[in-house]
Symmetry: C2
Subunit: 333 residues, 2 copies
DNA sequence: CTGTTAGCGCGTTCAA
DNA sequence: TTGAACGCGCTAACAG
C-alpha cells in the first residue's frame, strides 16, 4: 500500500527528448507550430515516461480548474441526488469535474461552503439554498460565475427551477376534469417554499374555477402523517384528495383501505414527486413529478454558458410531468 | 452576472501591511515566530482586504489538495448515493473536500476516471469497481493512496465492504428459527457479485442445517420480476421465501395478495436492502440491510489513515442489520 | 520553428 | 524575528 511513484514532469520529458520545456508544452497542447518529426519524438518519450501534465500547475497558470462546485442542502434527499447526478453527467460530458459540498441543512454553513469551494473551482452551483433572499443576494456577486437551482429569479445569477405551482395546478385540473368539485389538500410543512408554491396553485385554481371547493388539512410530509389524517379527510366530504407528496398519499391509501374506503371508486387520491414506488401502490398512484435530473442538466447548461462567455438563460422554469394512474377516476355522481 | 473581482493575493497583503511575503505567510499559517504586534497588523490588513490563501497555489507548493476523489459506478443507485454521503460527511468533518466521478456503469471508463481524478486529489476511493480483479490489481498501485469499497480483499489497498453473505445467512436463520424447513430463493442477475455472495450463504446454510431445503428460482431484480414468479414459487411448496431484494419481495407480495395467499399466515416473505418503503408494505416487510452510509464513513476512515500515515484496517467487513417485521411468522404446522 | 524568460501564488529554506 | 531568494510544474510572451 505504498505511495504511488512520483509522476514524470514536463522537465523530465524535455530532458529525455532533448528539447525545451516550451516545445513539450506545445506538443502536449496540440500547438501546431512544431516540426512533425520533433513532435512525434516528444510524444513518444511522453508516452514512454507515462507523462501527462500536472492539472494543479496547469490550473494555477491558466486560471481555470475545469471543475465546478455543487452545494446541496442534503445529500440524503433524493431530489438533490437526482439534481447532482444531472449536473455530474452533463459536466463530465463537457470535460468538467464536480466538487460536492453537503451543507447538511445547516443554513449558516452554506455561505462558507460556497465561498470555500468556489475558490478551488471555476464556478459554483447552489442547489435550493436555504438562506434568506437578502443573504443570497449579498453572496451571489462574489461567487460569480454562479447558478442557482430551485429559488426565485435572481439578478446576480441565472436560476433554474421546477414549476411546483404548475405541477399542483395540473393535478387540480386533472381532478376537476374528472368531475371532482370538492377537494382536500393535505398540507406539508407550513413555512417551506414548496408548500407555499402549492398553496398559490390552489388559490389560483379556486378563483379560476368558480364551482371548485378546496379545503386545507394540516398534515405533514411522511407516511404516518398521511395515515393519521384519514378520518379528518373523510369528514370533509371531499371526493378528490391532494396529498402533499407520495409518502403522505401512501399513508392515506393505507388508512383508507383499513376503513374499507375504496380508491378510486369512493375517493380519488393524488400524490406528488412520483417516487419509484408510486406505481406499485394499490391502486397505483396518480402523481406529478418535477424532472430533477433535467434540472441539474439545465443548471450545468447555464453554468457552461457563463464559463464560455455565452449568455445563459436568466430564468428557466421546468414543467412537471403528471403520471395518471389508478388512484384517480371520475367522481361518483 | 459579471465575474467576481480578483481576490487579494499574499503580495497585496504584504505591500499594504509593509512587510515581506514570508511574514504574511507565517502569520496566516500560525507560525509562532512572529512579533505579536506585527502579526496583528498583518492579520488586520488580511481581513481588511478579504484575503485568504489561494488553495491552488497552496496545493502546488504543498503537494496536497485537501481533496479526495470518489469514483462510483452509478450515481442513480441509492446504495452509492448513501456511500457517497457517508464519505462526504466524514471527509468534510476532517476538513477535506470530495470530487465525484460517475462512471455510469461504463467499465472501461473506470480506470480513466480514477487516474484522472487521482491527479487532482490526494487519494481516491473506488466504490464497487466493476472491472475484473486483474485489472483492479494492476490499477491500484498507481492510485495510492486508494481505498476500495465493496470488493474482495486486496493486497494493494484497504477494502471496506458489506457482508452480503452474512446478511442473507441471518435471514435464512430467521426463517429457520421460525420453523420453516423448505425455502425458495428468488435469484437476481446471475453473474453479479452480490448474487454470488447470496448463493454462498445458501450453500453454507444447506450444509449446516441438514433438514433445510432451499430451491432456487430464477427471477430478476425488480417489482415485475417478483410478481411474475409468484406461481412458480407457490408450486415449489416453500413456506419461506427469500427475495433477491425488497422490490422483488414487493412484487411477490402484490401477486400473492391477488391470489388470495395470506402473508405471513400461509407463507413468509423476506426482502433485502430495507428500502424506505419496506416498512409500509402490507404486511410490513422483514428484510436485511447493509449500512451503506457507514460503509462510506469507514472508507473515509481508511483513507484518512493512509493520508496521515497511520496504518488503516486492511479489510473491514460491516455487519448487516436485519429488520423483522410483519411478513414473517412461524411456519404453519 | 525553437529556446529562454517570466510569471501564476504560495511555503520554505537560508542569511541577516 | 524578518526578508530575499528559490522552487512547485506549467504556459505564454518574447527572442532568435
Amino acid at each position: 500500500m505504498a505511495d504511488a511513484p512520483r509522476k514524470a514532469t514536463i522537465t523530465d520529458v524535455a530532458r529525455t527528448a532533448g528539447v525545451s520545456l516550451s516545445t513539450v508544452s506545445r506538443v502536449m497542447n496540440g500547438n501546431a507550430t512544431v516540426d512533425p518529426q520533433l513532435a512525434e519524438r516528444v510524444r513518444a518519450t511522453a508516452v514512454d515516461l507515462g507523462y501527462s501534465a500536472n492539472p494543479l500547475a496547469r490550473s494555477l497558470v491558466l486560471g481555470r480548474t475545469q471543475t465546478v462546485a455543487v452545494v446541496v442542502p442534503d445529500l440524503a434527499n433524493p431530489t438533490f441526488q437526482a439534481i447532482l447526478r444531472g449536473i455530474s453527467r452533463a459536466a463530465a460530458s463537457s470535460g468538467y469535474h464536480v466538487l460536492i459540498a453537503d451543507s447538511a441543512e445547516q443554513v449558516d454553513e452554506e455561505r462558507l461552503l460556497a465561498v470555500e469551494t468556489r475558490r478551488r473551482t471555476d464556478g459554483v452551483i447552489l442547489c435550493a439554498p436555504r438562506m434568506e433572499q437578502d443573504q443570497l443576494e449579498a453572496l451571489l456577486p462574489g461567487l460569480s460565475p454562479v447558478v442557482v437551482v430551485n429559488r426565485a429569479r435572481q439578478d446576480a445569477a441565472p436560476v433554474v427551477t421546477a414549476d411546483y405551482r404548475g405541477a399542483l395546478a395540473e393535478l387540480v385540473e386533472h381532478l376537476y376534469s374528472l368531475g371532482h368539485r370538492r377537494l382536500a389538500f393535505l398540507a406539508g410543512v407550513a413555512r417551506s417554499a414548496s408548500n407555499a408554491a402549492r398553496l398559490t396553485a390552489l388559490a389560483q385554481a379556486r378563483s379560476a374555477l368558480g364551482d371548485l371547493e378546496i379545503v386545507e388539512v394540516a398534515c405533514g410530509v411522511d407516511f404516518d402523517s398521511g395515515s393519521a389524517v384519514a378520518d379528518t379527510v373523510l369528514a370533509t366530504g371531499a371526493t378528490g384528495i391532494l396529498a402533499f407528496n407520495d409518502l403522505v398519499a401512501m399513508g392515506l391509501l393505507s388508512a383508507l383501505a383499513d376503513r374499507g374506503v375504496r380508491v378510486p371508486e369512493d375517493v380519488s387520491v393524488v400524490g406528488f414527486d412520483d417516487i419509484p414506488f408510486a406505481r406499485y401502490t394499490s391502486p397505483p398512484l396518480t402523481t406529478a413529478a418535477v424532472p430533477a435530473a433535467e434540472l441539474g442538466e439545465r443548471a450545468w447548461r447555464a453554468m457552461h454558458a457563463l464559463l464560455t462567455g455565452t449568455e445563459p438563460e436568466a430564468f428557466a422554469i421546468l414543467a412537471p410531468h403528471v403520471a395518471v394512474r389508478g388512484s384517480t377516476s371520475a367522481a361518483a355522481s
